[in-house]
Subunit: 133 residues, 2 copies
DNA sequence: ATTTACGTTTACGTTAACGTAAGGTAGACT
DNA sequence: AGTCTACCTTACGTTAACGTAAACGTAAAT
């Protein structure tokens, strides 16, 4: 247990460069243990990286992903902190749901585009047929 | 009918600056009619802008949005063009569906975070209670 | 007549998210 | 011992997507 990863392993697994991973550390999104000079990434670090990259694919900035990660991390201690966190989570969820609606809207338009496209193809077929008849 | 918009109107409606709209034109994403010097945006232009901004919120680059817009636009004429377009549409839809899965994964993690958070709050409540008893 | 409110072009500035190059270290293989 | 490989730091370069400023045109309102 408690396996830890080298930077190269993570880079390969997630299809990014080591530069990218170090950059995220510069930005405070990751803070791996050190073994001498080398970075040792825990399972938690790996999870964070996964969240960052997922956020990126969804169009979030690194700062936004940083927020998400802080939510995922330590739940804070005081009641005020906890309540603030709950609020943030709720906000972020609303944002995600809104994004989902937009995504669905886009999917709908893809469907329409495809339909127009296949109708155009059908017309072409028909025309070709009458021409050859 | 055939109402057309000034650049300022569109900017206000969508909450962007006029610079942004002109920038999209530079990039070839929009090409409004001219009336003298001034730009006149048709309903179709407006739709394109809406698609661009939606794409942006979903994390697409302008070049990707440009592709989507071309799909939405003229369905081409030759069979080869139409078939290529159908393929592109199918690809983009797959991409959107993948993105949807990721979005849902993120929502799930938001739920978990919220749960951990509310559990922590519950523990705090309990502790406070026994302390005051 | 001039201020106000829009529009125009041209062009340099800015920020995020890395890429890339240069040079150094530390362990493993031959 | 020499070389390979994977790591490290430092620092300048790059691209996308605009921001911002300057300098101007036009048309309605005061």
């Amino acid at each position: 247990m408690n396996h830890s990863y080298h930077i190269g392993e993570l880079a390969e697994e997630f299809g990014v460069t080591t530069r990218t991973i170090r950059f995220y550390e510069e930005k405070g999104l990751l803070s791996p243990r050190r073994e001498g000079q080398q970075r040792c990434y825990s399972a938690a670090d790996r999870t964070k990286l996964r969240l960052i990259l997922r956020g990126k694919r969804l169009g979030f900035s690194l700062d936004e992903s940083a927020e998400i990660i802080r939510m995922y991390g330590a739940p804070g201690s005081s009641r005020k902190q906890l309540e603030a966190l709950m609020k943030k989570i709720a906000d972020k969820r609303r944002q995600l749901q809104e994004q989902r609606r937009e995504l669905d809207a886009m999917l709908t338009e893809m469907d329409q585009a495809e339909q127009r496209c296949s109708e155009a193809l059908a017309r072409l077929d028909k025309q070709t047929k009458t021409e050859t008849s």
